[in-house]
Structure formats: C-alpha cells, structure tokens
Symmetry: C2
Subunit: 186 residues, 2 copies
Amino acid sequence: MEKITLGPVPYMSVMPTLLVGANVKGKANYMTAAWATVACMAPPMVCVALNKARYTVKGIEENKTFSLNIPSTGQVVEADHCGLVSGAQEDKSEGFASFYGKLKSAPMAKECPVNIECRLFKSVDCGSHLLYIGEVAEIHADKACVTDGKPDVVKIRPIVYAQTTYFDVGKQVEKAFSVGKKYSKK
Amino acid sequence: MEKITLGPVPYMSVMPTLLVGANVKGKANYMTAAWATVACMAPPMVCVALNKARYTVKGIEENKTFSLNIPSTGQVVEADHCGLVSGAQEDKSEGFASFYGKLKSAPMAKECPVNIECRLFKSVDCGSHLLYIGEVAEIHADKACVTDGKPDVVKIRPIVYAQTTYFDVGKQVEKAFSVGKKYSKK
C-alpha cells in the first residue's frame, strides 16, 4: 500500500463527543469538546484539551473543577449548539438542568446519560490549547444506561466524533483482551 | 431520569484503538492503547496514557519519539495481540513491516492505514500512568484511505474502543458545527 504524507496536523481517528461543564461567574456553562480521553487508572483521571480563548477556561481556572458530560445521539442538536455559541455571547445555563455532586462547583447536565465529575489535577500549556487533566471525583449515570454497575455503551448511544462529523457507534467487532489469542505469526 | 453514582473510576464513552510504536533497545515494538486523543491544534499535538510498567515506556524515554498507528477493523486480531503480549516476553518487531519517517527513531506499522509520527513534548506523571504528549511531526497514510488530502474515516474503518470491546464506526448522525443551528430554546 502506497503511503503519502499529509503534513503535521492534529489528527485522531475517532473521539468522544462531550460537553465540558464549568461554572463561569457563578453560572453553569457547557461547551462541546471531543479532544478527550482517560489519562490514568489509579487515581482515575481524564483529560480534555481546550482552546485558551474558550469561555469555559475561565470557569475551570476559577473553580479548579469541571465535568465531562456524555450526550446521546438523540441530543446531537443540543450538543452541537454548545460548540457553535460561546458562553460569552449566550447564557447556556438554561440549556440543561444542571446538578452538582461531590465537588459542589462542577455543573453537570442531567439530560446527558453519563456525567464525569472532575477535580483539576494539572493543566499543561501545549500552545493554542490547554490540556486539562482532572481526577475523577465521581461518575453519575442514568440508572437506565447502566448494566452490572457500569455505563453501557449500547444503552447510552454516545456520539463518535471524526472529521467534523458525528457518528453512531457501530456493530461490535470483537472482544478486547480476547480476540488477539487467535493471532499466529506469519 | 434517575441518576446513580458508579464511584470514581477511569471512564470515557468511546476511544480510538491504536498501536503505540517505539524502538526499545533498537527494535521496533508495538503495544495496543486506547487512552489517546488530540492535545493541541497549534502546534499539532496528541497524547496517550501508558501504564508505567509497559515495555514501550522504555523506548519512549530512550528516544523521545513514538508513533500512534491506526489499525483497521480488519486488523483487530493483530491489534489485540499487541495488547495481550508484552515486548518484554515476545519480540513483536516482525509483526508489522516497520518504516521510519522524519524522526528516524519512531517505528510505524506499514499495514496500518494511518500513522502519526510524534516527537515527545512532555510526559505527565498521573499515578499508575504516564500521559505522553507528543508533537505531531508527520501524518503518514495509505493513499487509498485519503480523500481531499485528509484521512477518510469511512475508508480507514478505525476500531472504536468502549468497555473492553471493539466496535465499528456506525452511521453518520449529523455534521458537526452545523446541526446545532437547528437548536431553539425550549
């Protein structure tokens, strides 16, 4: 297969569509983000990259807390809206029914099936973006989206983000830590 | 919708399945990882969290370079195998046809449709895991998987990782930075 080079660009195959929640000037604000993942097992941590100019950044810096909220494919209009309009222009606090957990200052969107409540661990200045690493204080989930005590991807129907497009999660291909046992050297 | 708490656990809705490439003791090694995302737009950066005990960690620390290789769903057996067996136990250098790019020391798996070549920018000690942030030196891609100069998710068919299961990317739901225009306040 012939390889070509596409230049040094920020690329990842697939990413989660999220709403980053933070209190800015005492009001809940939610912004759409996709540059996020798990950062650590113990203690449990997640990270999310935000452009320094984002309104949400003010709230994270002020409270040292934030949330990552997982919208369902049925909430794609609301989710995308939070990426089109800045909290500096529009009060987005009424867009979702906010609730607060252990940390008291990280607003979470009740309508989203899963909410990750985070205490800021560290922020890394990468250039245009700050990479916020947060320790997970608690996972909140809709009871109907949980199976055997864990969030269930089939029930949640999270939105996969790739190349400025939202996708559904498709069919199960294989089980991890399992199918590789079929491997044999060529 | 009733919310329940699931404890402070490392959770993310969906993640990319990747092979992290690094030269360890002069030999190419590939390990499966999913805790990765984009970390910055300018300069372009990606990040990946690796358990400190991983063999691959030695290679990244030694060379200050690594690669993220995107396998296709058709390569799920090979991809999962690299997560089941450590390079400390098995020489995985022959599992893929390795090639090198600008950085000379970050091996990339030719069989994977997209390869992200990275120069280590910073590592963050989060506890059990190190979060490696790398500046993208170059994106290499199979010519057949590129549309209009960009990697094409439909042609690549990357593996979505969620709750220890590999999934296909599903159907397109909507276009981002667009569908949110339909939003109206309730």
